[in-house]
């Protein structure tokens, strides 16, 4: 987080330094808002409100517009996210081959609903329209790995690979 909640003082955490670098890199470029937001999310794992305010000031873009862009794109998140992001493909091929059952089973195992994050911040479970691996349907993506030809029974083994 940018700043320490207990004292209200600004603390230069490694994340804040990365943020300064990022803003320095993009300052003055046209159309930099989305890459900056992507960078912020890379640094903090999500988009903390106070960082968005800073982005708005630094890029001289009204906060309302920043917020508008953040809420428009599915990729941006205003709440903390799990270390591992599971994206369940609900594309046509996956749909036809029964990925809904895989989704239900994952919800059961993790005890979260679509969009939820486990309490230990290990996993966030979401759905995605299509990850473009239809030839391997039904499939899910965990972080950048695609897991295909899934069966409901094999899911726990796959999850175990992610700490």
């Amino acid at each position: 987080m940018a700043g320490c909640a207990c004292t209200g003082e600004k603390v230069d955490s490694p994340q804040d330094l990365q943020l300064m670098d990022l803003l320095g890199h993009y300052r003055g470029y046209d159309g930099s808002l989305i890459p900056v937001l992507q960078g912020v999310q890379e640094i903090y794992g999500y988009l903390p409100a106070e960082v968005l305010e800073k982005v708005s000031q630094e890029l001289k873009i009204p906060f309302s517009k920043v917020f508008g862009v953040v809420t428009f794109y599915a990729q941006f998140h205003l709440k903390p996210r799990g270390r591992n992001i599971i994206r369940v493909c609900l594309g046509t091929a996956c749909h036809v081959l029964g990925n809904a059952k895989v989704f239900d089973r994952l919800k059961d195992i993790l005890g979260v609903d679509n969009g939820g994050t486990t309490d230990d911040l290990r996993f966030t479970l979401e759905s995605v329209a299509c990850i473009g691996a239809c030839g391997l349907a039904p499939c899910i993506m965990i972080n950048d790995d695609t897991h295909g030809r899934l069966t409901v029974d094999g899911l726990e083994d796959i999850l175990a690979q992610y700490a």
Partner: protein, 617 residues
């Protein structure tokens, strides 16, 4: 710097020498990796090292046979290279021993062999004669699965950057004329003639012009752009360079969806090495032409595949479409003339310039020239990526390339063009695949996703699925799309839940017409297509849902009832355990019963019963 004749022949020479060495090549596209390609790669490297073999281990991208992933190619000097399918780390040892050491291919696991002038093996189909490839052409996709996409030398050795070299000696209008002559049309779905678009941007007045590559492939069921970007990134860059030179642009942007990390990585590598070699950048090949390109990663909005929404997104705005006119050709990125084409369109360009427009237009139909890459998925035997000449019939595609419907079931429909397209029935199987024929049938060519369905697929469920998609992805700018798709979806949901009324069909049709004619962009204008085509070709299914409260395909849960057949049930109790809600009861060895008030119709009991005693209707 430029690529001199000597340099090119030197690179070609080395490339050929490498091909003559004993080689093992693993397919590492996203699909190959998903199927476990990296583990296979590790196993191969370990085994080669252990045996101390003099064998090159390399990787390539996706050859298109998704159904056979992970795919591994093995080659010995002077012999055809054999492509094995379904290779797991466990059979690597045996494959290497047999093929590379004993020099005897494992015919049972071989999918195809690639001759390339070398001596063939008995009992393995040659690529051009195999069921999957015989009717395909490999024009845009030919480097996929054949070269290493992360080595620019492989690209140059196979004719790469010859197109731009030739283009730089040509007059700008002559390049545009060559593209016009080829008959190339936008491969992203719209089908607008590419040469004409270039001409517009060329003629537009502006101190600065842009080239934008639309790599925001978002249609569910479509992954050809991903495959091309991962497998032949330089071809896309070269296509963009030629376009930039022709229209007078010096800057390009590739808008690639963030869900394609491997494509973005390979593109970045390609740009970096091309710049290092002086193929891209300032004063390209000494011609005075400058061109730089950057990648803009999408942020997860389907509507950004629409060209004006995409431009807004590059500018850092919400990705909402603009009102046209003005068209991007006149006022595009930063209000400057902008030429926007899709990945596959750009990838076609280098070949057209190298081989001429006539070569390209010799393939295809009167109005749809060349070839088209399709992703064939769903309930077929061969899912994958295929490239066919325009004008092939759907029947040839299903029964020859795709190997027919899975498990010997009956073909019911094919969905072409994703959420903007439509479902075509058996009667339309003899339709020629081209822009006009598909459009007339109510579907569209779209970007090239074809999802096949068998008799177990409910057409209302499919229509509902797509509407749900467009409704969620509607950006909300214009009312017909934002409200109309939602109302259509609600109607469909009601029908599928068994609460449909006969007027619903008329209402759906009327609403669809209004949305089609009044929505701001293509997303909205085409959103009703899945409903309209299913209404046109599968009206009886709608009627069955509405009037008889019955789902003929047995998909819509609210309309289903599970019962246990007394003559088949032996009372083993397996289904009782499988039922998550405790709806099944019965003594051991006595016929079990399902309590319909407790049954949630999940279907978990059906596959568990070994005696086919559970019926759904």
């Amino acid at each position: 710097m430029s690529i001199s004749k000597e340099m090119r022949s030197d690179i070609e020479e080395r490339y050929k020498r490498n091909l003559e060495r004993p080689r093992i090549v693993v397919g590492l596209g996203t699909c190959g990796i998903a199927a476990g390609g990296n583990k296979v790669m590790d196993a191969i490297k370990a085994e080669v090292a252990k045996k101390g073999l003099d064998v090159d281990v390399d990787f390539t991208s996706c050859i298109g046979m998704c159904f056979a992933e992970p795919v591994v190619e093995m080659a010995l000097p002077g012999r055809a290279s054999v492509v094995y399918g379904g290779v797991g780390p466990e059979n690597v040892v045996q494959l290497i021993e047999s093929h590379m050491v004993q020099k005897t291919p494992v015919a049972e696991q071989a999918q195809i062999q690639i001759l390339g002038g070398a001596e063939a093996y008995e009992g393995i189909p040659a690529m051009e004669k195999s069921e999957y490839y015989e009717q395909q052409v490999r024009s845009v996709t030919w480097r996929l699965g054949r070269t290493n996409p992360e080595r620019i030398e492989d690209y140059i050795a196979t004719g790469g950057y010859e197109g731009i070299q030739k283009a730089l000696t040509m007059d700008r209008i002559a390049i545009i004329d060559e593209i016009k002559k080829s008959g190339l049309r936008g491969r992203g779905g719209g089908g607008f003639p590419t040469g004409t678009k270039w001409q517009f941007v060329h003629d537009a007045v502006g101190d600065k012009k842009y080239i934008v590559c639309n790599a925001d492939e978002g249609d569910p069921g479509a992954f050809m752009d991903r495959s091309v970007l991962e497998g032949d990134p330089h071809a896309v860059l070269e296509g963009m360079m030629i376009a930039a030179y022709a229209i007078g642009a010096d800057e390009g942007v590739i808008y690639c969806r963030a869900e394609y990390p491997l494509a973005i990585r390979r593109l970045n590598m390609a740009i970096k090495v091309a710049e290092e070699m002086g193929i891209m950048g300032e004063n390209i090949m000494g011609s005075g032409f400058n061109f730089k390109v950057r990648i803009k990663a999408g942020a997860g909005a389907f509507v950004c595949g629409e060209e004006t929404a995409l431009l807004n997104s590059i500018e850092g705005q919400r990705g909402m479409p603009r009102v046209r006119p003005p068209f991007p050709a006149h006022k595009g990125l930063w209000q400057k003339p902008t030429c926007l084409n899709n990945v596959e369109t750009f990838a076609n360009v280098p070949n057209i310039i190298r081989k001429g427009g006539d070569w390209f237009s010799s393939m295809g139909t009167e109005k749809s020239k060349g070839s088209k890459v399709f992703c064939i998925t769903g309930k077929i035997n061969h899912t994958g990526l295929c490239e066919v000449p325009m004008g092939m019939t759907l029947r040839d595609l299903v029964y020859n390339i795709a190997g027919g419907i899975k498990d010997g079931k009956k073909f019911k429909a094919v969905q072409s063009g994703g959420p903007s397209g439509g479902c075509l029935p058996t009667e339309k199987l003899d339709l020629s695949i081209d822009y006009e024929s598909l459009g007339q049938a109510g579907a569209i060519m779209g970007s090239g996703g074809l999802v096949f369905m068998d008799e177990d697929s409910c057409m209302l469920d499919i229509a509902k699925y797509f509407l749900n998609f467009t409704q969620m992805e509607s950006c909300g700018k214009c009312t017909p799309c934002r409200e109309g798709t939602k109302r259509m979806l609600e109607t469909l949901e009601r029908i599928c839940e068994g609460n449909g009324v006969p007027e619903d069909i008329d209402n759906l049709e009327r609403l669809a017409k209004v949305i089609k004619t009044s929505a701001l962009c293509a997303l909205g204008q085409t959103a009703p297509n899945p409903v309209l085509t299913t209404l046109k070709y599968f009206r009886d299914e709608y009627e069955a849902h509405i009037n008889e409260k019955r789902c003929p395909a047995g998909v819509c849960p609210e309309l289903l009832n599970y019962t246990i057949l007394a003559d088949k049930c032996i009372g083993c109790g397996v289904c009782i355990k499988a039922c998550p809600t405790g709806a099944i009861s019965g003594e051991k060895k006595a016929v079990h019963v399902i309590d319909p008030t407790k049954c949630v119709k999940c279907g978990a009991c059906v596959p568990k019963c070994k005696f086919d005693a559970i019926a759904k209707a």
